[in-house]
């Protein structure tokens, strides 16, 4: 096994492109755990730690936000002054694991692994985020919704790495909320719901919802959002939207809960997430 510590994205791309069994090393919190368990043994590790261009959170002139792939969960959790719905990403980062895991894990590593039980994927889908990639053929951006392809499978092609996650401007008057239900604090979610909502005169003018741990990729259902739009998010609206979302779910049975139990959690967590997001906008 070889170990590389390039200082530019281009060098990292060449190293990855030259060896199809090479892997990026970000925080190591998943990759090293898998190596320790003899589940993977890459032929080479390409540490991204020394690539300054992969760090940092920056707002762009149009009100969008760019989060470098090597930004740790702690840096996202502590980011100050995020606008409206963008604060959802910080709330989500605070829900990840324990302090040591938030100090180590990165947003690029979290989504690069493609685990549907992780917290960021649902939040990124609810925020209409894009994933910026760089590979031997140059740069491209993939909507978060298309980036997650299947269980532990993403749109990353051989030789490509994630350079950043970008969020479009927060919808006007929009706020977000992340509801995570886990067996104990710091565990992966049994079910999670990310919601971005804008209310106007007590009615929902904008809504995006995505579920985590409910299938091989984050679950989004445009029909459920259409059912919520224009409503006051009353119990019957939430129940009807939850029914649509449940039809789109394909949950597993595992130690964190049976598929049936997960389906029971969708409606109450959806209600909590929508109302928490709406409440952040205050009475309008």
């Amino acid at each position: 096994m070889e170990f590389h510590g390039p200082s530019t994205v281009d060098e990292a791309v060449s190293l990855l492109a030259a060896d199809e069994d090479a892997r990026c090393l970000a925080g190591g919190a998943t990759l090293v755990a898998m190596m320790n368990a003899d589940l993977v043994m890459p032929s080479a590790l390409v540490s991204l730690r020394h690539i300054a261009a992969l760090g940092g959170i920056a707002a762009d002139a149009g009100g969008g936000l760019r989060i470098g792939a090597m930004t740790t969960h702690r840096e996202v959790a502590d980011a100050a002054g995020l606008d409206g719905a963008h604060a959802l990403i910080s709330e989500t980062a605070r829900a990840i694991g324990h302090p040591a895991i938030r100090n180590m894990g990165t947003i690029g590593g979290s989504i690069g692994h493609g685990d549907p039980q992780a917290d960021y994927p649902a939040a990124l889908v609810a925020l209409d985020a894009s994933v910026e990639l760089r590979g031997p053929d140059g740069a491209r951006a993939v909507p978060a919704q298309d980036f997650f392809v299947d269980y532990l499978e993403t749109a990353l092609q051989p030789g490509e790495l994630i350079t950043a996650v970008t969020l479009p401007p927060s919808p006007a008057g929009g706020f977000g909320a992340y509801e995570k239900f886990a067996r104990v604090e710091g565990d992966y979610a049994t079910v999670s719901v990310a919601a971005a909502v804008a209310m106007e005169a007590g009615r929902c003018r904008y809504v995006r919802v995505a579920l985590g741990s409910c299938g091989p990729i984050p679950v989004r259902a445009e029909d459920a959002e259409a059912r919520l739009a224009g409503t006051a998010l009353a119990d019957e609206d939430v129940a009807a939207a939850a029914a649509v979302l449940r039809d789109a779910c394909d949950p597993v049975d595992d130690v964190r809960g049976s598929g049936e139990y997960r389906m029971m959690l969708v409606e109450p967590l959806l209600g909590r997430a929508l109302r928490a997001a709406a409440a952040k906008g205050g009475a309008r």
Partner: protein
Amino acid sequence: MSEAIPISLTVNGRTHRLFVQPWHTLLQVLREQISLTGSKRGCNQGVCGACSVMIDGAVMRGCLTLAADAAGREIVTVEGLAVGGALSPVQQALLDHGAVQCGFCMPGMAVAATALLADNPSPSDAEIRDGLSGNLCRCSGYVKVVEAVRSASAGGAS
């Protein structure tokens, strides 16, 4: 076996020149190459916190950090907490409060608590619990650990 990589590792203020394999964890190298056996191997999966060390001031998992990737960063282990041979306030408080049972989790607890108080000198009880949430104690002595950390905090003269 691939060729070992030369690295220099700064642990508790001392720099060590070592040869490591790319897959060697920091925990493994601390214990087996520099004989710092205070950091414990519980799960080797990031779950238990027995291997907690500080890297550049932040608490991290020794078992999930590759030694080659830790080169050039400031590492502090439980052996580096004592000042001039005297236990640190956190260590002394853990002792005074009877927080130590079998002791296996204690090096990790002491490191995590030290990192917590460095960031937040007067944490609330909820913040103490959150700060130590990644450290499991199978003897289950959490109450006394929280009391000890509270007493070692700026607001906690007991």
